[in-house]
């Protein structure tokens, strides 16, 4: 097992080097650079940047150097000093911008994952067991609606209803007085008061998806002979259901969670923008749009590391669940 882990980790290194290089180049690929974007942004305000201002800015950010040099400066900073570089648009070190947001992002994502599991798994089981009942049709209908409606549209609709019908303060994860306040009991409570809205919006599509997966798997399982055998032995129905077919039905669902970390960090970007959430998604989008090189590339690198970690973890879990996988590994 240990050698399996070491081997896997070792394989990840060239993959990460390639990802960091390619993503940096792809971000640099469009014509123009951050300073051009900035000049255009200023022009949209009415401001004009002079040629000398632009040149000095470009020199200050190192954008006048070849892109390979820029890449080397950035990646060597990360490898040698753990320094992700400077975000041009935020005028702050990249890590100072990203880290404070990761905490909130994780809270939100974990909350919506829990929401999905708590809601979807029982409904999936119910739908499979009471197949073609009225309840099954109702849940299936709602599930398809959840899949079909884009998240951001749902977010806009929910915000509008919350504002016009309930007069609730919407947008953001905190009330104004808590936004920049240090953590306190009041702030935690305030967070929970705001969390449910994005949690539901982010959770609906996932919920529908999980319901469908579990329903389909479970329908296959409940027809298998071992279920009939257990039932013939006089096992109580609920206990029988949960102990055998549901466990089997959950397997493909669990192994499909290998991109869970990526979802946690970058999930729901558009929803976050629409709802004004202080999560990481909007940061990444802005960084890409403005060609804020260090920021965007560092972000993508972090996401890649998380993909590698998630895959490693799901491999390990599968290997633990199913010995055949473990022994097949050469």
């Amino acid at each position: 097992m240990l050698s399996f882990v070491i081997r896997r980790t070792f394989y990840a290194i060239p993959a990460l080097i390639a990802v960091s290089f390619i993503s940096f180049m792809v971000i640099a690929l469009p014509p123009g650079d951050f300073v051009d974007r900035l000049a255009q942004e200023r022009a949209a305000l009415g401001d004009t940047m002079t040629a000398t201002e632009i040149q000095s800015l470009r020199a200050a950010y190192g954008l006048d150097r070849p892109v390979l040099t820029q890449y080397w400066t950035w990646i060597s900073g990360i490898v040698l000093r753990g320094d992700f570089g400077y975000s041009f648009s935020w005028n702050l070190p990249v890590s100072e911008v990203i880290w404070p947001r990761i905490g909130l992002t994780v809270v939100l994502s974990v909350a919506s994952l829990l929401f999905i599991w708590v809601v979807a798994i029982p409904i999936g089981i119910y739908s499979a067991v009471r197949r073609y009942s009225v309840g099954d049709y109702v849940f299936t209908f709602i599930g398809f609606l959840g899949l079909a409606i884009p998240n951001f549209l749902l977010a806009l609709a929910v915000m509008y209803v919350a504002f016009t019908v309930f007069g609730q303060h919407v947008g953001g994860l905190f009330s104004p007085q808590y936004v920049e306040a240090p953590w306190s009991w009041g702030k935690v409570m305030d967070l929970f008061a705001h969390l449910w809205l994005p949690m539901i919006v982010l959770g609906t599509a996932g919920t529908a998806n999980v319901i469908r997966v579990i329903r389909a798997n479970l329908i296959d399982e409940v027809r298998k002979p071992y279920v009939t055998a257990a039932r013939a032995k006089g096992m109580v129905e609920t206990r029988l259901l949960l102990k055998y077919p549901v466990r089997h039905a959950l397997n493909p669902f669990v192994s499909s969670q290998n991109d869970i970390f990526v979802d946690i960090i970058s999930g729901g970007t558009i929803v976050a923008i629409v709802m004004g959430l202080q999560t990481t998604g909007p940061l990444l989008l802005d960084a890409l749009r403005t060609q804020d090189m260090n920021m965007a590339a560092s972000f993508i690198l972090m996401l890649s590391v998380l993909v590698v970690l998630g895959t490693l973890l799901s491999d390990l879990v599968l290997g633990w669940l199913d010995p055949r996988i473990r022994y097949q590994q050469g």
């Binding site: 469009p30 014509p31 123009g32 051009d36 974007r37 000049a39 255009q40 200023r42 022009a43 949209a44 305000l45 009415g46 401001d47 004009t48 940047m49 002079t50 040629a51 000398t52 201002e53 632009i54 040149q55 000095s56 800015l57 020199a59 200050a60 950010y61 000093r81 320094d83 400077y86 648009s89 935020w90 005028n91 702050l92 070190p93 100072e96 911008v97 404070p100 806009l156 915000m159 504002f163 007069g167 303060h169 919407v170 947008g171 953001g172 905190f174 104004p176 936004v179 920049e180 923008i273 629409v274 709802m275 004004g276 202080q278 909007p282 802005d286 749009r289």
Partner: protein
């Protein structure tokens, strides 16, 4: 609304001419003569009582600026703005406290930090008189040395401004000599007359003059404090002084500018914490702010300014209609949103205040007269072509459908409220007339036997227009209508709509045919400061698409200049040569001579008809909290007049 020319306005306009001595203006009445006792905000009085602050008389200058607003206000409250993160100071909402400022109606330049000024007869020498006893927000005196520090150690410091000072301080390429006459008198001097300096000082680029408290800034000066700066730079992990300075100290428009809560300023409100990366920030009252109201109470009335970060326009809109933002920002206060604003007035507790735009056109269309393809160059240089194209635009239909009936058909020209308004330049060829359009177009693009318009080379002629679809979505709607009427006169046109991120590339591509941008700074005296725009020149950001002519002009002014790759100078026709000359000459003239040259400039433009416009922008407004008072009846929006800031936020107050 900017007033029609009045005597006061002309006095401002001609400030550079024969004004010897300080012009008499209301604000400039000395307060010390009227006031024996000054009022102050209750929380400041508490701090004075506890010995934390000196009494108000010692905090104010001997002659504070008196700002007479409509009403005497009461202290208190928080004004909430939205903010996109990063740079706080869009000067139109915060940070406008220049040496001299625009009057509320934009008609003249009035005293601010400078209590007055003196301009020599020939306009080569500008002397500004500062306020004795005025203090930075940390209580340190504000003197002529601070302005000299800015000029010598910032603006002219090649280690900071690696490219030298901004062009607004120069006349005909020459930068002034800045001297200290005494502690409270500063002089700017050129060898040539400078006809526009005062107006430039009142605009966005004048703010930097009063942004650098010498006593505080010296610690960031690599020559004055090499060890200290080296330590700071090491802590920040950088080796480039210019970039470190920009990222950690900063001038106007650098996000770092307000990020240091310890940096003294002259503004009405000051920071209490860093701002970068924050979601919500609050500035508090500056106890040393240098202005009082008519009752000798120290301004500002409002206690705090707060900015909430909103990343998306729809979110900002939602926050405004929920009543969370005191004055709605410009980007969402557009005619298309008016119904939403109107419907939620009661729920959001705000009213709508009309805003006049200083933009002289919603969209300006410029053809690439020096196109690399000689056929296109010939067609685009033909006035017949441009007139035909212009007549084939149904401006009234665009106004009615896209701009909700607001505005009037207009070419790129000074607005009617400007003393430089020229009716021919503004109104020629604006009527929608397909017959006339066909007549003009037939002269340069005759139809062949199939009815297809062909160029001078006998080949079918087609062209493209590049538009930034994100910048002003109304342009997209307008050009969809224009495309239809152009096709009716046989023009084979492709309109290309680009995302903001990509527009830059098409705008500067060598083979672009036509580019659209907004027309800015057209009201009052602003056209005088904005001659570049009328020559299709947008600073470095874009030299426009008259590359060859612009190159010719560059070489005319500086025969040794290096041109951009692939650009060949093209000698323009005589009238256009004169237009370029006038652009260089007008800033160096004053008074009637300057006015006469402006008339020649607009007349020549009317005759040559180089750029095509659509309509005057109208129908703008802002939502303003119901309890916010001393707000003008109408805002003026602009850039060189950075409205609404000149309307004196310091005098706004919340009714109890």
């Amino acid at each position: 609304m900017i007033k029609k020319p009045t005597s006061a306005m002309l006095a401002g306009l001609l400030a550079a001419t024969a004004i010897s001595g300080v012009p008499a203006m209301a604000q400039e009445t000395t307060a010390s003569a009227m006031c024996s006792v000054f009022g102050e905000a209750p929380q400041l009085a508490d701090r004075v009582a506890s010995g934390d602050l000196p009494p108000v008389e010692q905090r104010l200058p001997k002659e504070p600026l008196v700002i007479r607003a409509a009403e005497i206000g009461t202290y208190g409250g928080t004004l909430v703005d939205s903010w996109g993160g990063g740079n706080l100071a869009d000067q139109r909402h915060f940070g406008y406290e220049p040496l001299v400022r625009w009057s509320v109606d934009g008609s003249e330049v009035v005293p601010a930090i400078a209590k007055g000024w003196e301009i020599s007869e020939d306009a080569t020498r500008y002397t500004f008189f500062l306020r004795e006893g005025m203090k930075w927000s940390d209580g340190h005196p504000f003197t002529a040395d601070d302005i000299l520090y800015w000029w010598d150690r910032v603006e002219n410091n090649p280690k900071i401004m690696t490219g030298g000072p901004r062009g607004e301080f120069a006349v005909d390429g020459e930068f002034p000599a800045v001297t200290k006459v005494d502690d409270f008198t500063v002089r700017f001097e050129w060898t040539k007359p400078n006809g526009l300096f005062l107006q430039h000082m009142a605009g966005p680029y004048g703010q930097r003059v009063v942004q650098f408290p010498a006593h505080y800034m010296e610690r960031f000066d690599i020559d004055a404090n090499p060890e200290g700066v080296a330590e700071l730079m090491q802590a920040a992990g950088t080796t480039n002084y210019a970039s470190w300075w920009q990222g950690n100290v900063g001038s106007y428009n650098d996000p770092a500018q307000f990020n240091d809560p310890d940096r003294p300023s002259v503004h009405g409100w000051i920071a209490t914490d860093t701002i970068l990366g924050k979601e919500r920030i609050t500035f508090v009252r500056n106890p040393y702010y240098f202005a009082v109201d008519a009752d000798c109470q120290q301004l500002p009335y409002i206690d705090n300014r707060t900015w909430m970060h909103t990343s998306d326009a729809e979110v900002t809109l939602l926050q405004v209609i929920q009543g969370n933002i005191t004055i709605s920002p410009r980007n969402i206060s557009i005619p298309q949103n008016r119904a939403v604003f109107f419907d939620n007035q009661d729920a959001g507790g705000y009213r709508l205040v009309n805003a006049t735009s200083c933009d002289y056109n919603t969209a300006v269309l410029n053809f690439s007269v020096n196109h690399t393809d000689p056929v296109r160059a010939e067609v685009f240089q033909s006035k017949d072509f441009r007139v035909g194209v212009s007549h084939a635009i149904n401006r009234q239909e665009i106004i009615d459908t896209v701009y909700l009936g607001q505005g009037e058909p207009f070419q790129p020209a000074p607005l009617p409220n400007s003393p430089f308004y020229n009716e021919a330049m503004a109104k020629n060829y604006t009527e929608f007339d397909l017959d006339q359009a066909n007549q003009y177009l037939d002269r340069i693009l005759p139809r062949n036997e199939n009815g297809v318009r062909v160029g001078p080379d006998g080949e079918p002629f087609r062209f493209t227009v590049d538009i930034n679809a994100d910048f002003k979505p109304d342009t997209v709607d307008a050009f969809q209508l224009i495309e239809r009427t152009w096709q009716q006169v046989g023009l084979d046109v492709t309109i290309r709509y680009h995302a903001n991120e990509l527009f830059g590339n098409f705008r500067s591509a060598p083979d672009r045919d036509a580019v659209v941008w907004v027309g800015e700074n057209g009201c009052g005296q602003l056209p005088l400061l904005n001659l570049d725009r009328f020559m299709n020149h947008y600073g470095y950001w874009s030299k426009g698409n008259w590359d060859g002519w612009a190159a010719w002009d560059t070489l005319r002014l500086n025969p040794g200049a290096t041109l951009a790759d692939g650009v060949e100078p093209v000698t323009p026709p005589e009238n256009i040569q004169r237009l370029y000359e006038l652009r260089s000459i007008i800033p160096t003239r004053v008074g009637e001579e300057q006015e006469a040259l402006m008339k020649e400039f607009t007349d020549l433009h009317a005759e040559e008809f180089l750029s095509i416009g659509l309509a005057t922008p109208a129908g703008f407004y802002r939502s303003v909290s119901n309890d916010l008072r001393n707000v003008p009846e109408e805002f003026i929006e602009g850039w060189l007049y950075p409205g609404p800031a000149p309307s004196n936020f310091a005098t706004y107050y919340f009714a109890q």
